[in-house]
Symmetry: C2
Subunit: 255 residues, 2 copies
């Protein structure tokens, strides 16, 4: 059985440790704060450590799931070992390990993690990169066997593009829901009435591309409805309605 050390005890580390439990031998959980290390280590049957120098030297895989700006420090302070060292960040280049370890890479789950909700990692898409082609193959194999079938190679540039795409797909889409909630609240309407419609819009993405499934006044060029909607808005909302309707029409014209 593969021996794994989990470095970090936050949201990402917790989801990963739960997914690996029973499939790998979780040797240790490290956290700067012993009570955090103990909490996760207790659940997954590992040893808790709070001193990076006490990280075991004989594990096969070290998963570094700590905040971006803490990665370099904890790698520096932990004993240099022959195992495979992976970090889980979308923004930190793999080169944070260069000169510090021999076999290393990135295991980046495209998902947002929260304290309250354990994520089912088997549905998540992982993006991986290794310090050599052989290491990339090892990381891919490790991910497929223990975490998820959905694995794609992504270097730093691709991870940056993924992060940008996620801002559009999640942060900006979520802002559209904030604006919808504002429009509804002005008329005493409950936002949750919109949820079934939002969910069926997402459901369509499993069958059609977002451009193919686009509907609404802009997609069908319904100028009269767009004009009426603009007359109901002002400020930010009006400007956003105008720009996005135009962008939908441009998109339609280009396809």
């Amino acid at each position: 059985m593969k021996r794994v050390v989990m470095i970090g005890a936050g949201n990402v580390a917790t989801s990963l440790a739960h997914a690996l439990r029973g499939r790998c031998q979780l040797a240790q959980v490290y956290s700067r704060r012993m009570e955090h290390a103990r909490l996760l280590a207790g659940v997954v049957g590992a040893e808790a450590v709070d001193n990076p120098a006490a990280v075991a030297g004989d594990a096969d895989v070290y998963v570094v799931a700590v905040p971006d700006d803490a990665i370099a420090g904890v790698v520096e302070a932990a004993p240099p070992t022959d195992g495979l060292w992976l970090h889980t960040s979308g923004s930190v280049p793999m080169e944070v390990f260069a000169g510090r370890r021999c076999r290393y890479g990135v295991l980046y789950p495209l998902q947002s993690f929260s304290r309250d909700l354990l994520v089912d990692l088997s549905r998540v898409h992982f993006f991986v990169e290794g310090s050599s082609a052989a290491v990339t193959a090892q990381i891919t194999d490790f991910t497929r066997r223990f975490l998820s079938e959905n694995v794609t190679f992504a270097d730093s540039r691709r991870r940056r593009n993924l992060h940008l795409a996620a801002v559009f797909a999640c942060n900006f889409a979520n802002h559209m829901w904030s604006l919808a909630a504002d429009v509804m609240a002005r008329d005493g309407l409950p936002f949750n009435a919109m949820l079934p419609l939002i969910e069926s819009t997402v459901e369509k993405l499993h069958h059609l591309s977002p451009s193919q499934s686009q509907t609404g006044p802009a997609a069908r060029g319904d100028v009269e409805v767009m004009r009426r909607h603009l007359s109901m808005l002002h400020g930010d909302e009006e400007e956003i309605y105008r720009l996005l309707s135009q962008s939908i029409m441009n998109h339609k014209a280009q396809k």
Copy 2:
């Protein structure tokens, strides 16, 4: 058992007829095209008619689920009866029935319907309006008993606001996914890798308002990341990124 006549055989009529089947007696399905009437009538055990004059006079409820601009014509051509007449449109005022029927109203499901997918109406939110307080109560009762627990009163103004909110929540959110897909495609990345992340963003809306659950560079005021992202974009995409990030920051400041 309530006798119901379904006027229309399209996507909305089909979903409604399936939901009512077995709970009401579906007397007739009317469609301008006999083959469409027959198709739906056959499945739900009703009589098919293609002549509005042949619509039965003795039903309790008449559901008019035809395209917006066909509602007035079909109501005009069908025999005036004592039953309750309802249309299902978000955009057509209830007054389309005024002077033509005595008891009438609107039964508007906030949902998009498609040919390929039967919608589970019990999860959908219905917005209702009646020609009198008593009729509104009857429509609410009919909806709760046979279709969905989720029923809210909405007059024409509220339905217009709902439609506007739906453009933000669905059409514009979907456009964000189109733009994300474009960013990913430029780097050979598969859009479906984004789906688990989109789905967990939607899942959060069951627990938090969209403003509360907003994350990302704009929400945390991370100017450096926003500047890097803007340098990766141009045209429509750059302008949208700039405007939406600013709007998210304004929103945050107002709360």
